[in-house]
Symmetry: C2
Subunit: 159 residues, 2 copies
């Protein structure tokens, strides 16, 4: 996969859009002393290149009733079942990310639930998937999301 070359202007456009995707292109243009048309063209290019995959809302899941987060490590009976189990896991909506991992677990996933009872139901759901031998759960007492997304695309260039 070829790395896409972004110049300083692209980075600054990304920075502003990462903070707020609905910021008017004219505002971006003003700050960067370029025209709104230029912003438009550059964003379009980054979209076409696949750098920008889309945009989404950041919702407050706690306010929506999901205050429980756990990570679940999954042991499989056979490694060959990985793909099958991963597919079943991805069907559970409360599983927000799943990884095939090296080391202790075969699969590792993040679960977002409403409360402990709800979490228990989800974990039992995972346990019940054919091929899963057992699971190990880690409960999050506090989550702190790193707001350095803005740096990620920048620092890379510097290294």
């Amino acid at each position: 996969m070829a790395k896409f070359k972004l110049d300083e202007i692209d980075h600054q456009i990304l920075d502003m859009l990462i903070d707020n995707t609905r910021i008017p292109f004219t505002d971006i243009a003003k700050k960067l002393l370029i025209s709104a048309g230029t912003v438009h063209v550059r964003v379009k290019k980054m979209e076409e290149a696949g750098i920008i995959r889309g945009s989404s809302l950041t919702l407050d899941y706690v306010k929506l009733g999901y205050s429980f987060i756990a990570y679940v490590g999954i042991f499989l009976e056979k490694t060959s079942q990985t793909k099958f189990v991963l597919e079943r896991i991805n069907e559970i909506p409360y599983v927000t990310v799943a990884h095939i991992t090296t080391g202790k677990f075969n699969i590792f996933c993040k679960v977002r639930a409403q409360d402990t009872k709800h979490a228990k139901d989800i974990i039992f759901m995972i346990d019940d998937i054919e091929g899963v031998s057992r699971t190990e759960t880690m409960i999050s007492l506090e989550e702190s999301i790193n707001d350095k997304k803005r740096l990620m695309h920048k620092i890379f260039q510097e290294l």
Copy 2:
């Protein structure tokens, strides 16, 4: 924290914005057979209520050069150091999420790096934080992000 009550219209507005934050309110209005003004007012209310915390771009980190993901479990010398260590960890931009957890580890975090060498540097950085006794790393061979965000705010109401 009081749960905010969303009605069916709110849910549908969220659904569309989750897929694409830049979709015109007039488009949303047309689909839901309401006026654009109503969409505007409802979105504003959800923003004020904190349900919508913001919006952000979904970037392709692999295309930006970050193809390495690992989870790092951290053991502390003393639990009382948790807050201090968490703060140091959150200063590392490549750490995208950090959790205080129950069970095996004291802190658990996700690291996004460019390659194994870069990941090693980051893990050493974590190891070097005062109070960290040792770490355990799990390397992700494949990440599958669950695209059920759209369901999360809905299913809750149904339960």
